[in-house]
Symmetry: C2
Subunit: 335 residues, 2 copies
């Protein structure tokens, strides 16, 4: 079984599923497992401040075709890791997210990697196309981890698809945010996307670099239990620019500090100490568990290759079911 889209053709993959390059979570094992299962794994380049981590994780892919992703506003301070990665790691694709990708787009394209830019509005999609993005990832605020504040996947994707088809019809659109199973994949394709980027669902995989205690919380959680807030970033010392916040599971820490960011900054020294201790002790009443609204669709921790396969199989079954509700005779053969 497979779903053949422009994305699978362009990236030479079997399934239109891309692993989100989740900082410190999407390592070489997870990325290569997704790639070997037929999707495309992106190793986390994160803030671009730890090239050694990235190089080590790439080594773990053992030559499997993978890409990587970086946080653009952080690259603006030091893009060394991006340039080293382009020179030495041969990523199939590079995803630039959060902040202005302008200073880095040309270097990615000239390296031969596919340039992917993640956007959260139609206006940012226009800018991404101006920069020559070959793949625009349209991310809704239902996503886990870092997101913007106002647009959601269901309405953003078709608007970006329409923009792309007018402005740069050879560019592709990938949907991100809230997609946790094959129903979501089928829905994204219905909206006109060429594929999906999934984070939360793979965060809850065996290959993710995540403590089991945190994953257990995600299995229990409903999407209702997530909240968008910058308080974990403040505690960790990452100064994210507006309008970005992180979608995480509600816990004692978010209940205490979300909406009281000023007070949090005033007492940051002691709070940061407690927060770091909670991280070390795997106390997720305090430390954050990132997760999109799709956590409600996560019911167990599975192997990433099984997630790829079951997502595609469910999407195919979904499409077959949609076909049956069309009150029309089918053509004699598919395709």
């Amino acid at each position: 079984m497979s779903l053949v889209t422009r994305l699978t053709t362009r990236l030479e993959i079997r399934h239109p599923i891309i692993l989100a390059p989740m900082d410190l979570v999407s390592g070489g094992l997870l990325a290569s497992t997704v790639s070997r299962a037929g999707g495309l794994g992106l190793v986390a380049g994160g803030y671009g401040d730890d090239y050694e981590w990235l190089e080590r994780e790439f080594a773990l892919t053992e030559g499997t075709r993978v890409g990587c992703g970086f946080i653009s506003w952080s690259l603006a301070r030091d893009a060394g890791a991006l340039h080293k990665a382009l020179d030495s790691l041969q990523p199939v694709a590079v995803l630039l997210s959060f902040g202005d990708p302008g200073p880095f787009a040309l270097a990615v394209r000239e390296s031969g990697a596919v340039l992917m830019i993640q956007v959260q509005t139609v206006e940012l999609a226009r800018r991404a196309l101006d920069l020559g993005a070959e793949i625009v990832v349209a991310q809704g605020a239902e996503a886990g981890g870092h997101v913007a504040d106002n647009r959601s996947t269901l309405a953003l994707v078709p608007a970006v698809v329409d923009l792309v088809s007018n402005q740069a019809p050879d560019a592709l659109v990938v949907a991100a945010g809230g997609i946790g199973d094959g129903r979501g994949l089928a829905a994204a394709l219905a909206l006109g996307a060429d594929g999906v980027l999934m984070g939360t669902r793979f965060w809850a995989s065996r290959q993710a670099l995540v403590p089991a205690e945190a994953q257990a919380r995600m299995v229990e959680a409903s999407g209702d239990d997530t909240v968008r807030t910058g308080v974990a970033d403040i505690a960790r010392g990452h100064d994210w620019p507006r309008p970005f916040t992180g979608r995480v599971l509600r816990n004692q820490f978010t209940d205490r500090w979300a909406g009281a960011e000023g007070e949090l900054r005033d007492s940051i020294a002691s709070v940061r100490y407690s927060y770091q201790r909670a991280l070390a002790e795997r106390n997720f009443d305090i430390a954050d568990v990132p997760g999109g609204e799709g956590v409600g669709l996560v019911r167990s921790i599975e192997s990433a290759d099984d997630i790829v396969r079951s997502t595609v199989a469910e999407a195919e079954a979904t499409i077959a079911k949609l076909w049956t509700i069309r009150d029309q005779p089918a053509p004699a053969a598919g395709g």
Copy 2:
């Protein structure tokens, strides 16, 4: 052409499309036009404070099968209009939204109308099923007009579908929020919904009770231009409870007051005077134009029956296109 789902069967309609009962906008002409085109129109019962308006608009439907909808927190003050409607207007279905539907659910069910309850979280969906809702409308925050704050359609709908299939498998699920065309309808069906409820797209129809000047603004707007805020409600004197706000097009008024609600309440007398004057003068730099993120999919003001037909036709074409990307032979005949 038609899409046959459990919703079309249950409501005895041709297309799985329901008109949102938009306050003062979804009158008898719009509702009956949607119903005659094969969907189900819901006349706006709104705050339940103007039964004469509702009765007059029902008269305009000339006996076409329609339903109606009410705002539950407002019914809690005076449910007279609901009971009169159930006694005298024979609505096919009644949608209860925003606030506790508990005190009104039994009356709706005993009247013979189909009980529809709109929810914004999985937890509220559970409560709706406990109350005997026959149709749960799962509304994401990308919707226009009043919405809650945290969940979006793409991730909420499959979670509600899973809940319903476990807890009350005979109940149906309708998706609301961000659905502006046939791609959105097909996506909603892929997520497991039995149909959709559309507001924004019909707000931009010829039969909507909306000034042409306001509709012109919606045609120009992108979903990026919408904002969730309670400031128009404060200006109008409607005291909405948390967590509800209204998604409207950004304008001078929202730029001035969103985020400054305390200051707005302090100067409400003069602001309300200006706001009411702007409404009367159709000055939509000040008066609000409600609209969901789907405004980006609205490119012209069409007749509501054409909207129903083109949405279904596009959904069918979308499903046919999805079918072609399955890398499998089709069965000899559909259905």
